[in-house]
């Protein structure tokens, strides 16, 4: 990799993780993340997101490929990589018997924050993530959202340039999710922090990410801005469900006049991706009416990142992970 490439916050070429007696969890991926960018790494459970994060945060040696984080090689300069990154991994790694303030005290000490500054730094971060009132309560009594916010604050104690967030909002209620999104946006906008965010939520990637990489079965299948990826998919799609299931064949035939079959396999509904200039939903309704077809449900779907995933993999993002099983932790890494 050339020296000039260090203008990137994260640069990855052919990164691979092969687990012993297990699958090829990450299969030679390439990606580049600009400084100050929020990069969304989207994919179903078991796609290879967390394994990638573990490698980029130096916690799992890669079995192939190269990656530089903050300009440092993850395999040879682990210590220097760790000095410029913060990470909140998939499970909020907290001690239920300590308070938020005690967590801050420990983390600031371990990260080498000068002693006179530790208390103020900890209090500032606790305040920023909205935990001031709960700062002296044991973390065991915190809600999931509070734990996530504390986890985020702990990742920030040493002022990292690059922040890794591995599914930061999984399991959170909408309010907690929204508040965490705001903080991530603030970190990128106000502090210029680079954020590498893994998620299985389309809405999260759509809302936060400047660019999105979609990973499936260890390979990146699409990459670009959310708008660009959705534009690649093209026109909206229409789904319809016949009032009488025996009319499904006719329904498919009528819809087929307006575009190509698309969408998930469904015994009842028919999906079609509309061709450009076909007249849109209005013409579809007219055609169904002309054929005397009664429909129980008719919907127009604007392209989403899920459509992008569907286009690239032939499957819907939701539920795709169930086919792949859980990733990471289950298998032993082959030595690099």
């Amino acid at each position: 990799m050339s020296e000039s490439a260090s203008e990137w916050a994260i640069e990855v070429e052919g990164l691979t993780q092969k687990f012993r007696k297990g699958p090829l969890a990450v299969d030679g991926i390439d990606l580049h993340v600009e400084r100050g960018e929020i990069y969304g790494f989207l994919g179903p459970n078991g796609a290879g997101k967390s394994t990638t994060v573990l490698m980029l945060t130096t916690l799992l040696p890669p079995t192939g490929g190269v990656a530089r984080v903050g300009g440092f090689d993850i395999a040879r300069e682990g210590g220097r990589v760790r000095s410029v990154i913060g990470a909140a991994l998939q499970e909020a790694a907290l001690d239920a018997h300590l308070t938020a303030r005690e967590h801050m005290r420990l983390q600031t000490a371990l990260q080498g924050v000068p002693k006179p500054e530790r208390r103020a730094r900890g209090d500032e971060l606790i305040e920023r993530v909205g935990l001031a009132e709960a700062a002296d309560r044991k973390v065991g009594g915190y809600s999931g959202g509070m734990k996530r916010r504390l986890d985020l604050a702990l990742a920030l104690v040493h002022g990292p340039e690059i922040l890794f967030l591995d599914e930061p909002t999984t399991g959170l209620d909408p309010q907690s999710r929204s508040s965490l999104w705001e903080e991530v946006e603030r970190l990128a906008d106000d502090e210029g922090m680079t954020v590498f965010l893994t998620t299985q939520y389309l809405e999260e990637a759509d809302r936060l990410a400047d660019r999105v990489g979609i990973i499936d079965r260890g390979k990146i299948v699409a990459e670009g801005t959310p708008a660009m990826l959705k534009a690649e998919v093209g026109e909206p799609s229409v789904s319809a469900r016949a009032a009488d299931p025996s009319d499904r064949g006719r329904l498919v035939e009528v819809l087929g006049r307006f575009g190509s079959a698309s969408g998930p396999e469904d015994e009842d509904a028919a999906w079609v991706r509309l061709d450009p200039g076909c007249g849109g939903l209005v013409e579809v309704v007219r055609a169904l009416d002309a054929e005397g077809l009664q429909v129980a449900d008719l919907q127009l779907h604007e392209p989403t990142l899920d459509d992008v995933f569907l286009e690239k993999t032939g499957r819907k993002l939701e539920g795709a992970g169930e086919e792949q099983g859980d990733e990471s932790g289950e298998f032993e890494a082959v030595s690099a």
Partner: protein
């Protein structure tokens, strides 16, 4: 260096606070050995009439046992705490800081030693309260503290190594009966030379716990028995050297950071 010492102190502090805030784990570790001491002393007092028994007070003879049982609990607690850190990802959090593996181990073991200090002080106080003899006199008290802490340190090293191998709190807790088997097949209840069954005497002689018990017991029953004390410190030193090395090697494997 100052930074590493500071980090070690903070890790030890966290380990101590965490233990003290789990009374369900900490209190039985202190009380259970005393319960066993009371039962044994009441049931086996007649053993003091056996020719050659080293004291006429079974409580004095048996007081060494709580120290060793307390050490066993130290082993389980330090091991369980580390295993929990592995399970919850807290170890990964610490692995992402500049803290080195040896410093992490030192901090964790330091926290266990603080707990061991409290246990030791408590057992010594109980001994004086129940009127047990203490042949080593006032000068023997610091020696008893030192030996007890060294033994607890050795046990903590075993606990940390075991935790790094088994990796879960549940698995660590399931090791409890194994450690108790070692205790029962030792010179816990009877001096080795008075054990009648040859096989039992042989097992107790092989069992390193016998020498740890006898070292502490010597201070209560004999005074400064340098041979018994030397063996106790020696066995502890071997346990520490072996299990600390194994723990350090296992930690390098567990913390597979680059």
């Amino acid at each position: 260096m100052t930074g590493q010492l500071d980090s070690i102190y903070e890790v030890a502090r966290r380990s101590f606070l965490r233990s003290m805030r789990q009374p369900a784990a900490f209190v039985p570790a202190i009380v259970f050995p005393l319960f066993l001491l009371a039962v044994n002393s009441a049931g086996l007092d007649a053993a003091t009439g056996i020719p050659g028994f080293p004291t006429d007070s079974y409580v004095t003879f048996a007081l060494a046992i709580p120290f060793i049982q307390g050490g066993t609990f130290t082993l389980l607690n330090s091991g369980t705490d580390l295993a929990t850190d592995i399970e919850t990802g807290f170890l990964n959090r610490m692995a992402m800081t500049p803290l080195g593996g040896p410093a992490l181990l030192a901090g964790m073991l330091g926290g266990s030693m603080a707990i061991a200090l409290i246990q030791t002080a408590f057992y010594i106080a109980i001994g004086f309260t129940v009127g047990a003899d203490f042949a080593a006199g006032a000068a023997g008290v610091p020696m008893l503290f030192l030996l007890s802490l060294v033994i607890c340190f050795a046990f903590s090293c075993v606990g940390v190594f075991t935790a790094l191998r088994v990796g879960t709190g549940e698995a660590m807790q399931s090791m409890f009966p194994v450690f108790f088997v070692f205790l029962f097949f030792s010179s816990m209840a009877m001096p080795r030379d008075l054990i009648e069954q040859d096989w039992f005497r042989t097992v107790a002689t092989i069992n390193p716990l016998s020498y740890l018990i006898e070292g502490i017991r010597s201070l209560y029953v004999v005074g400064f028995d340098w041979e018994a004390l030397g063996l106790a410190f020696g066995v502890s030193a071997i346990l520490i050297a072996v299990f600390l090395s194994l723990a350090a090697a296992s930690l390098r494997t567990t913390l597979v950071r680059t």
